[in-house]
């Protein structure tokens, strides 16, 4: 075992022990604790948990590289703006109101505000989106284990499954939340230390966000020298229309993803929900403002050191990543030198995996072995925290929205908890299987999940609060229309299916916001012609808009209000009267 592997093992064992201990200390005995941590998490902790939940293996390991390498600088801004701008929408348009509503899941809100049909559509959306996402996280765990510890990828995924199983099944949302607070701490420290070190080394300024400006003109000059488009020039990779639409899709998709929205139910109060959004974006922006700097520093280092170097005289860090296959050199012209002319990547002499930018930063900066081990632990923390949040959404959708609300409304608390735990266990097994045998299209589908979130959930949640006259039929029709058009367009334009150029050259990943507008239009138009929500429901919506305590919302939520008052006589759910 190398010294780096020993340190990696040390950090992995320490952090995993902490996660298990936290879960044991915060184990739960009731469904409120299992689904939403009893609604009792203070805002700063909830914010850190949201940040860990949100920042996946992709944010931690891949994002800086995607910006620097595959989108060549400027075009990567869609991820930076898209994945942070959504929090402004969440904070102002959804979080406080959903917290006031005070339920367990996102389908809960949809089902109560609109109808049982809408609830079922929402359950299906929530489960599909979450599984697509979680498969990527489990695969990420396997990859980190393989690269840093040299263990088999399958074994890595299984270790990850066991750890998540222990703390998620035992502690439910409460265990997950406090574990995520610890995981956030691990991942942010692991991200910032190498970033600060490399900024100091290159520019003499230890703040990456400031240091990044010092190398930008040199980086642009280097890019020009090797025939690459300027790093800071806009629209060299993606045109303006797609930049706008994709940024918007990621923003509205962020505000429509169930594993993020549900975190506002765990806040202590309506006021704490607002503050949670602020803390969350603060914690996220620590990483998201650092990532573009890390990307630029690495690109600068790579272009400075590698092109023109003899194939057999590359630096040690370069060689070690070449050995694991994340960097490939192909001396096409046979001159024994790595040449870069006009492009990087497959089919050229130098292809660098996006993940290298973060994974190799400590070595490029010449940091000692413990720091490399810490980065591995950080990558695992990012993947595990996101996986556990998603698994909880799947578990609560099955146990609360399907089992308790539809199948067995008379189930006792203990029984519901058991179903929740079994659903969680089953979800972990399926997620692990998908992580070990990822279907070929997973990578594309993860990006598309945002489009689906934007096109299905966002409009009906927003209108459910801001427009009292949005009707059940309107919402069901709107959600179906948004989902179907977006899915159809994505299938039509994806290279692996149709590969069409689409309309106006809009790409599959950018279409979600168009689907969202369709959803809005259909919901509003259908709502004009269908039975209005009852007086009582309109009053409930009005009450939800105020942060103070209200009898009506509480009475509605505990089921004390008569269903006919709420949903009218022709409600589509015969089994609703279970109280």
């Amino acid at each position: 075992m190398s010294i780096v592997q020993i340190w990696t093992l040390v950090f992995v064992v320490i952090t995993f022990s902490i996660y298990i201990y936290i879960a044991y200390a915060s184990r739960v005995k009731d469904t409120a604790g299992f689904y939403i941590a009893g609604g009792g998490i203070p805002a700063p902790a909830n914010g850190a948990a949201i940040a860990a939940d949100w920042m996946s293996a992709a944010s931690f390991i891949s994002m800086a590289g995607i910006i620097a390498l595959s989108t060549n600088g400027y075009a990567g801004s869609v991820y930076l703006m898209g994945w942070t701008g959504g929090y402004v929408l969440l904070a102002m348009l959804l979080a406080p109101y959903l917290r006031k509503f005070g339920k367990y899941t996102v389908p809960d809100f949809v089902g109560d505000r609109y109808s049982e049909t809408a609830r079922l559509i929402a359950v299906v959306c929530a489960i599909v989106v979450s599984f697509v996402y979680v498969a990527g996280q489990m695969a990420g765990v396997g990859v980190v284990f393989q690269r840093f510890l040299g263990v088999n990828e399958t074994l890595g995924v299984i270790i990850g499954m066991v750890i998540v199983f222990l703390y998620a099944v035992l502690g439910g949302m409460k265990g997950i939340t406090w574990t995520q607070v610890a995981q956030y701490s691990v991942l942010i420290v692991a991200y910032l230390i190498p970033a600060v070190a490399i900024s100091q080394q290159l520019t003499g300024i230890p703040i990456p966000q400031v240091g990044f400006g010092q190398i930008m003109s040199d980086l642009n000059a280097l890019q020009a020298e090797f025939g690459l488009a300027e790093y800071t020039s806009p629209f060299t990779q993606m045109n303006m229309l797609n930049m706008i639409l994709m940024t918007a899709t990621l923003m509205f998709g962020t505000a429509g993803l169930p594993h993020v929205i549900v975190r506002f139910y765990t806040a202590r109060s309506v006021r704490a929900a607002r503050f949670s959004a602020l803390w969350a974006l603060f914690f996220i922006s620590l990483l998201y403002t650092t990532a573009p700097a890390v990307g630029a520093f690495s690109k600068f280092n790579i272009l400075n050191q590698i092109p023109g170097t003899a194939v057999d005289q590359v630096p040690a860090w370069f060689q070690s990543w070449q050995d694991v296959g994340l960097i490939t050199v192909d001396d096409l012209n046979g001159n024994g030198i790595i040449d870069v002319a006009g492009a990087l990547g497959e089919g050229t002499e130098l292809a660098i995996n996006n993940d290298i930018v973060v994974l190799a930063t400590p070595e490029i900066a010449g940091l000692p072995a413990p720091i490399v081990g810490l980065v591995a632990a950080g990558g695992l923390a990012a993947a595990l925290s996101t996986a556990s949040g998603l698994l909880l959404v799947i578990s609560s959708s099955v146990a609360n929205d399907v089992y308790f609300k539809r199948i067995n409304p008379g189930a006792t608390e203990a029984r519901q908890l058991m179903v929740g735990r079994i659903a969680m266990g089953a979800a972990i097994v399926v997620a692990g299987y998908l992580g070990i045998n990822p279907p070929g299209f997973v990578a594309q589908v993860v990006a598309l999940a945002f489009g689906l979130g934007a096109a299905s959930f966002f409009p009906i949640l927003f209108l459910g609060i801001f427009w009292k006259r949005a009707t059940a039929m309107g919402a069901a029709a709107g959600m179906a229309a948004g989902l179907v058009t977006t899915l159809a367009y994505q299938i039509w334009t994806l290279p692996i299916y149709g590969g069409s150029d689409g309309i106006f050259g809009i790409t599959a990943a950018s279409f979600g916001v168009v689907g969202m507008l369709i959803n809005f239009a259909v919901t509003i138009i259908v709502s004009q012609f269908t039975p209005k929500p009852t007086e009582t429901m309109q009053r409930v919506v009005e009450e939800v808009r105020y942060p103070g305590r209200s009898e009506l919302v509480a009475a509605h939520a505990t089921g004390a209000l008569d269903d006919e008052l709420l949903h009218g006589e022709h409600h589509d759910d015969p089994g609703r009267h279970h109280h």
Partner: protein
């Protein structure tokens, strides 16, 4: 809170949100994308062309400031309307 006061509270909440969301759109879609070229040519900020800086740093910092202003103003609004007790219940039905 009576009906008139509630309408007033909601009106002011919506007005605050409209202003903040306008800034949100202007900074991200405006400065970061639509006007990125003129801003890049205009000047550099901290060593980076201005439009590019907005796209990769400034927009994120602005988002954070917008939520901070929202949280702060809503707290003040709650106080003005005498909301001291917040909804804390969670419900299961």
């Amino acid at each position: 809170m009576d009906a008139d006061k509630r309408r007033e509270y909601w009106r002011r909440n919506v007005r605050l949100m409209s202003i903040l969301l306008t800034v949100w759109a202007l900074v991200s879609f405006g400065a970061g994308i639509i006007f990125v070229e003129p801003l890049n040519n205009l000047t550099s900020f901290m060593g980076v062309p201005l439009g590019f800086w907005f796209a990769q740093q400034g927009s994120i910092l602005t988002f954070l400031a917008l939520i901070a202003i929202y949280v702060w103003r809503m707290d003040a609004l709650d106080k003005e309307f005498g909301i001291t007790e917040y909804e804390e219940g969670v419900h299961h039905s």
